[in-house]
């Protein structure tokens, strides 16, 4: 699909709204966001998914879980407080969802983050790797074919 500039802008704005820190009882529904974008919910979800790779609902969930990871890593809030802070009402469903998407329960993620060297109250840098730091943990075979490329080689 080819998106007109105003449609693209509205989809980006919708993404921003869905990722915004939830105000208590005021989190916009997907339908609200679609209406605000001036598009029918059906088309909105289709276009949104084509652009962002996720439905609006899943994007919002991912954003909440990302924020939860950050808060858990900072270590200042309990798991229960983080759960409420990011907009989940049930500790059980938050923990299940977190464990499924992140790969470990929030309590164990928080413990692991706190065990890393860090400035108190800030997330440890090792939790957010960039390309270069990942490279250091690869086996030598990952760079086996490096060195000068033979002329004309594929």
């Amino acid at each position: 699909m080819l998106l007109a500039p105003d449609v693209f802008r509205r989809l980006c704005r919708a993404r921003d709204l869905l990722q915004r820190d939830p105000e208590p009882d005021a989190s916009p529904s997907v339908a609200d966001v679609a209406r605000g974008a001036g598009i029918s919910p059906y088309h909105f979800i289709r276009q949104f998914e084509a652009v962002f790779g996720l439905t609006p609902h899943r994007l919002r969930t991912r954003s909440r879980l990302d924020r939860a990871r950050l808060l858990l890593a900072e270590g200042r809030l309990s798991v229960t407080d983080v759960c409420m802070e990011v907009g989940f009402s049930s500790l059980g469903s938050f923990s299940d969802l977190f464990a499924r998407r992140v790969g470990e329960p929030p309590s164990s993620y928080r413990r692991r983050a706190r065990s890393m060297v860090s400035v108190p109250g800030r997330a440890p840098r090792d939790l957010f790797p960039g390309c270069l730091s990942l490279m250091a943990r690869l086996p030598p075979s990952a760079f086996r074919n490096s060195g000068e490329a033979a002329p004309g080689s594929l």
Partner: protein, 128 residues
């Protein structure tokens, strides 16, 4: 000093690998687990085979903020050369790819801009 590796940050490494191989047509070179992330690189089947594009996790909050701002402003984060941008546009549209710009003359090249579904706008360019 050699340019052998470049990278784009992606919001989801699994989805990025699928998009960059199954949709864009690159070929996976490496996919190694590294802690909770993966080291994923792709190469072009059109060569050269030793120049890799890494699909790196964009987990750092500052990285995410940068990526989203560029995206919202319509600024592509990477550009790939193609032989026929009109044909690529047709082929990719049929696969459901979202474009923000159809093939458009832009100085010495014709460009098209698409979303990689992982937080980036990608520019395709065909030299005249």
């Amino acid at each position: 000093m050699r340019i052998k590796l470049t990278s784009v940050m992606v919001a989801d490494q699994a989805r990025a690998l699928r998009f960059y191989t199954e949709v864009l047509g690159f070929r996976k070179k490496l996919d190694l687990p590294v802690g909770e992330y993966r080291w994923i690189t792709v190469v072009s089947p059109e060569g050269p085979g030793d120049v890799e594009l890494a699909l790196e996790p964009g987990a750092h909050p500052a990285a995410k903020a940068f990526q989203e701002a560029m995206f919202s402003d319509g600024i592509p984060i990477a550009a790939f050369e193609v032989s026929d941008v009109a044909a690529e546009f047709d082929r990719l549209k049929k696969q459901g790819v979202a474009f923000t710009r159809e093939p458009t003359p832009a100085g010495p090249v014709t460009i098209a801009i698409l979303s990689d579904t992982c937080g980036n706008l990608i520019q395709l360019y065909q030299p005249a």
